[in-house]
């Protein structure tokens, strides 16, 4: 039996894969998104800082900058019809020493060069006026009004839901192990499942990008996942800062950030640790304690706040700083690799850029005349939430005020949660200060029929 053949097979359902699946589906092609895990957003995209970056500090002239600028613009264009939040906090690069202070004019100049023209240097007094909670050895700052916070899970989910609603195909629990190109058609071998055929393959496999690239060619880039750990503080800490507090960056990373989240928490992180593990992002007690100490130094009132939890994410870093995006016309292949530390912002721009590559190398597109725009449920306090609606169902997660019907819907939706992690990311149940102390039973009762292996009677 020959399998159905798709125009495009995308390998990897991270934020990049979800955005590209959406873009090519809306462009009128038949697309299948293939993901090895039981749910989408299970790789690099599940643990980040959730900042929609302006690109003020990206390398001038880089592809990363272009995709971020475009991604930033597109997010602002589509977030409302998709039901996605946007919390306009602005960000502040804060200098804590004379040495750092001396770097601020350069940061402003680079921002202006990058087209982010509203960036200005501000004095220590102006920093303190905006952020009275910061420690008093602040030396000065740079104000970036356009940096914003978004929901890092609902955004890719919304892109995926729109692709699905408009005819896209999703294949979960499907690891691509090899592939061959014959007569202009790829046949991808899937572990424990039937092969998949497609004319064009898009590699957006995140931390496995170089391994997947090897299906088409010897990979020109090597991934060394760069781990970032975070400490999450409980909601009473949310008001300690108004804007995103960024450090003066180093060559390797944006450094330790203090930021609110769209869910009403406060984050301190991430670290930047090169390590070999591609799939499991572990946390380490000593590192988390150091993050907490660093946070308390910058924001003394944090010391009296409760820690909710900690998490880690793995950035798909390569030997190159820039994104590795390329079309291989002879191989019917498009690569989107090494989307290291700005992919949440860049995803929609990356997808748009890849659409351009497709049109240049593989053919014309006939966009859907009137695509559907399904809205995702809102999880943030920036928009009304179900717990505050008349006729609400029972609240089962008390810390995050998640109702029974939200959990039930996430388990039975068109793109249902495939794991407990996926359910948490779709609803925020068990994500709060008690981490399941009060709600495990209720969540388990609802989830066990849908997600295998959680409990036995």
């Amino acid at each position: 039996m020959t399998a159905k053949s798709f125009d495009i097979a995308l390998i990897g359902a991270g934020v990049v894969g979800c955005a590209a699946w959406r873009a090519f589906t809306l462009a009128g092609l038949s697309c299948i998104l293939i993901e090895r895990e039981a749910d989408i957003i299970s790789g690099a995209s599940k643990g980040n800082s959730a900042i929609l970056h302006t690109g003020f500090d990206a390398t001038p002239g880089s592809l990363e900058l272009a995709c971020m600028r475009e991604g930033y613009r597109l997010y602002r264009e589509i977030h409302e019809p998709l039901g996605l939040p946007l919390l306009e906090t602005g960000a502040m690069v804060v200098a804590w020493s004379e040495e750092e202070l001396a770097k601020l004019p350069g940061i402003v100049a680079q921002a202006h060069q990058n087209g982010v023209t509203d960036v200005t240097q501000i004095t220590a007094e102006q920093v303190r006026a905006r952020e009275p909670g910061l420690a008093n050895d602040v030396k000065g700052g740079v104000w970036i009004p356009g940096e914003a916070l978004i929901d890092p899970w609902s955004a890719p989910l919304a892109y995926a839901r729109q692709a699905l609603a408009n005819g896209g195909t999703l294949h979960l629990n499907a690891e691509v192990t090899s592939g061959s190109l014959t007569g202009g058609t790829w046949t991808l071998t899937i572990k424990n499942a039937a092969p998949i055929q497609a004319r064009i393959v898009i590699n957006c496999a995140g931390n496995f990008g170089d391994l997947v690239e090897a299906i088409a060619r010897p990979s020109p880039f090597t991934i060394t996942p760069r781990k970032g750990q975070f400490v999450v503080y409980d909601k009473p800490a949310h008001g300690l800062v108004q804007s995103i507090i960024l450090p003066v960056p180093t060559a390797r990373t944006k450094g330790i950030v203090i930021t609110r989240t769209a869910f009403g928490n406060l984050l301190v992180g991430p670290t930047a640790e090169d390590q070999p593990e591609r799939r499991l992002a572990t946390t380490e007690t000593a590192t988390l304690n150091a993050l907490h100490a660093a946070g308390c130094r910058m924001l003394p009132a944090l010391a009296g706040m409760e820690i909710t939890t900690a998490y880690a994410g793995l950035r798909p870093a390569t030997q190159f700083k820039d994104y590795q995006i390329e079309a291989l016309p002879a191989q019917n292949w498009i690569t989107a690799g090494g989307i290291r530390s700005t992919g949440l912002t860049g995803a929609l721009g990356i997808a748009r850029h890849m659409r351009g590559l497709y049109e240049t190398h593989f053919g014309t597109l006939k966009p859907l005349p009137s695509p559907l725009w399904p809205r995702v449920p809102n999880l943030t306090e920036t928009l009304p939430r179900p717990h505050a609606q008349p006729g609400r169902s029972e609240i089962i997660c008390h810390c995050e005020l998640v109702t029974h019907d939200e959990v039930a819907a996430a388990l039975a939706s068109p793109l249902p949660a495939g794991s407990i992690g996926g359910l948490r990311r779709r609803t925020r149940c068990m994500m709060g200060r008690c981490q399941g102390f009060y709600c495990s039973r209720r969540v388990l009762e609802l989830a066990a029929p849908y997600i295998p292996g959680l409990a036995d009677a």
Binding site: T282, T283, P390, C434, G436
Partner: protein
């Protein structure tokens, strides 16, 4: 406007409601976010409840039922979550009918306590399924949902033995009980009983270094005397390290004692905004249900006085400061006067020494004590001895 709103229908809140009703107070509302009142005991399906406050032995669920029965006549609103406190006793609540705004002369906070989960303990490792707390485990077990078969139990406070009892009930066998310190924290039943009765090895001086596993817990990495060992298991139950459920008063800017994690109160159970009173395990980690219930009754007695306008103005309070090996002391503020003043605290570590209370520079209390970290330290001072003083220090040296 209601007279009194009580947040939380656990042992403390329901007992307070009963006392207020018996005193003839009308307009007492108990707000409870769960579909059933009763608080934490509802899911603790073993004996040992009610001894202190009811002088009878119940299982947790029966005790919860008894608390509700004895508070009959109170207006208990279930499925009602308080989402924010505002000054002067104004509450934002979420009800099935929609959000509401509630105003009472006095609000009693009785929101209880929870165990510190893995996340907040910043434990190293992966984050697979099968990591829980005693409270969650007991609730799941009672519903017949067992997430593991061979968990490891972290901690040895009394509640860890509660987890052992539940495990035995549910027919699962923990692989070990781990205690980082040199001895079991619970006075009874102790390590011998854990081994003999439950067949579970107790390992003291043992640190949990890391949790391992991809989708499910597969093992834990331990360290004892510098030696590391990987122990196979399929779950981790974190017990104890209690944290008051204090986010409401914390978010509202009521004064929180960083040492207890609960709201700071005066000796009339008043918070820094005197429209708010607090009682039960919200006040500190942790007491058994009977103590929390009796505390609910004592707070209710002060609320009755407040409704009659009999309490002294809160501004008259002087601070109580813990010192030496004392981890915390409460009430955190006292108003010296005619009545004796009861203080409770805990030590940082096992300690043998002198407990003394200094009113400014004057020694007003002294006792030799020998104390374990999880045991309550109580002292009563004659109120008159403190009149005219500026502060009270309670020191364990």
């Amino acid at each position: 406007m209601h007279n009194v709103a009580i947040i939380g229908a656990g042992p403390a809140g329901l007992t307070a409601a009963r006392v207020l009703l018996q005193a003839g107070i009308s307009g007492v509302q108990v707000l409870e976010r769960n579909p059933q009142p009763g608080g934490l005991p509802r899911f603790c399906d073993h004996q040992g409840w009610g001894v202190w406050d009811m002088h009878r032995l119940y299982t947790g669920p029966r005790y919860a039922g008894e608390l509700v029965r004895r508070a009959a006549g109170a207006d208990i609103l279930i499925n009602t979550t308080v989402t924010a406190l505002e000054p002067n006793g104004h509450l934002h609540i979420s009800t099935p009918g929609g959000p509401e705004y509630l105003q009472s002369r006095i609000v009693l906070l009785a929101t209880g306590i929870r165990e510190k989960p893995r996340g907040a303990r910043l434990v190293s490792g992966t984050r697979p399924w099968g990591i829980t707390t005693t409270g969650a485990f007991q609730e799941m077990a009672q519903a017949g949902q067992i997430p593991f078969r061979r968990p490891v139990i972290i901690g040895s406070e009394l509640v860890a033995f509660s987890a052992l009892l539940t495990a035995r009930h549910a027919g699962i066998k923990p692989v070990a009980m781990l205690e980082p310190g040199p001895r079991i924290l619970a006075r009874r039943p102790g390590g011998l009983i854990a081994r003999a009765v439950f067949g579970v090895p107790v390992r003291t001086n043992t640190q949990l270094l890391e949790i391992r596993g991809i989708d499910r817990v597969e093992s834990v990495l331990l360290e004892r005397n510098g030696q590391r060992e990987e122990l196979a298991c399929d779950g981790v139950i974190f017990t104890g390290q209690f944290t008051p459920e204090a986010w409401l008063p914390r978010s509202a800017g009521l004064q929180i004692d960083p040492a207890t994690g609960g709201p700071a109160i005066d000796n009339f159970f008043r918070c820094s905004d005197p429209a708010y009173f607090a009682t039960g395990n919200l006040l500190r980690p942790v007491e058994h249900s009977g103590f929390a219930a009796l505390e609910g009754a004592r707070a209710a007695a002060q609320i009755l006085r407040a409704l009659r306008g009999e309490l002294p103005p809160p501004q008259a309070a002087i601070p109580v400061i813990p010192g030496g090996a004392l981890r915390y002391i409460y009430p955190q503020r006292i108003i010296p006067g005619g009545i004796p003043i009861q203080l409770h605290g805990r030590a940082r570590h096992a300690h043998k020494g002198r407990l003394r209370a200094m009113a400014d520079d004057t020694l007003v209390f002294e006792r030799l004590i020998r104390i374990l970290p999880e045991r309550r330290i109580s002292l009563t001072l004659p109120g008159a001895a403190l009149t005219g003083r500026n502060s009270l220090a309670v020191i364990l040296d």
